[in-house]
Amino acid sequence: MAALVTVVLPGDEIPRSSLPTPTGKKKTLTLGPGLRHIPPDTITTTIAGALTTDNKKNAIWVDTNSGRYIPAVGDLVIATIQNSVFESFNCLLTPNTPFASLPQLAFEGATRKTRPVLAPHSLVYARVVSNGQHTSPEITCVDPSTGKSEGLGPLKSGMIFNVSLGMARRLLLKSKGEVIVLELIGAKVGFEITVGRNGIVHVDGANVKTILAVGRAIQEVDEQALGEKGQKKLAERVLKSL
């Protein structure tokens, strides 16, 4: 497995042979993070990592698990409200970055008369709507097409845990993100997790012990890169302690 990984450094030119061969309907090539197109037809890398391709989606990107979170449209994030100005809340996605704005009407059922009241330093689960290079990001807690929250909105209790960006992506993968520890624990104890692409996992459960156990289990899988066997062992240990 590991031998097949193509390691790239910034400035490497991607040869034509490394580009994905489209198998799906999509004919235009999609360049993901870490790549840039220099017209007419040169593609070079900008970050260090593993070159990854997806033939079905005709996409190519550089996979890495380090650095600061950069908002991308469509990402689910956990944001911290800082203050409220006029018609919107100022939120932080990562510390020491410019604020992301969350309109006060971007909540389910919010109208001009009934606006949500959120205190500074409370958390919301939101989706990134726009992020231009020259504008600050905008996020929303409502699905614009249905007007429903679809699971987005303020997070009320529980606890948050920091994980690596790669781990957050793994947890959000629809197909088995290979984090079976959660299923194993979840079979015995009830809990709820919310994953923000910005490296934050929110865990809520019946009591302090459960929340901590689940949160720490996720962090452990992340830090030690546990495989299936390791996770099974971890799940057993966690369940025993509860």
Binding site: N96, S122, L155, V208
Partner: protein, 292 residues
Amino acid sequence: MPREVEISIIEREFIQNALQEGIRRDGREFDAFRPLELNFGDEYGVADVQLGKTRVIVRISVDVVAPPPERKFDGVFQIVTEFSPMASPAFEVGRPTDAEVILSRVLEKAIRRSNALDTESLCIIAGLKCFALRADVHIVDHDGGLIDASCIAVMAALQHFRRPDVIVEGEKATVLSTRERDPIPLSILHQPLSVTFSYYEEGNLFLVDADLAEEQVRQGEIIITMNRHGEICQVNKYGGAPVEPLDLLNLNNVALQKVKDISKFIQQKLDEDAKKRDAGGLMAELSAENAR
């Protein structure tokens, strides 16, 4: 203005609720330190301390200067702390935060003014020449507990440091390089170490070695510095809720136990390091003999 980001409401509530149930976020006991690691550099007087995710590097250096005229028989000893953006983007160069001011003040009181180092031994020729010792404290990674970690690092580095030997002939002093003569250890009178207690619940609940999140939730802190013989060098309480006198006495007992443990740990690491260096010395001597 860059600022340290404040902790979110649910984190604050969760940490407080958990403490009420007697649980710390990382599963430690209330009176337990995070895992402590101590490494010495290749050079004398460099100590690298890791306390959980907090990391502090201290480097001792020496220079020869004229002593201050009002203290002719003393050497000079200085502890310098400066935060850098490395530990947190909230730290700005040349703009000390409150935490930085408190840290340097506590270190000053705990180590320098408690006479941990015998400054008179740094005198070379009274009124003319003396050693100026300098401890540079570099905060590299910041996850709370800076005072305790810095104190450990400074004391370990001082004990590890060797100053060059000097020959004095009348008014003339010659500093011998380390190649000419083995450098000599500093004369250290006692080893003060700090234990910071963070308190919650109106002073009913005390934590040892709080991490950054726990520090942000606490009502106040009490810093106790003492040596392993139980001699208290300083007690500090910067604001916050009032604390019962009896609690303070109890904290002293806890602190003493911690200081004893850490002193032992530092000594053990120093011994290991000395052994490593000595092994090299012995080997070198043997090979020299063979060459003859």
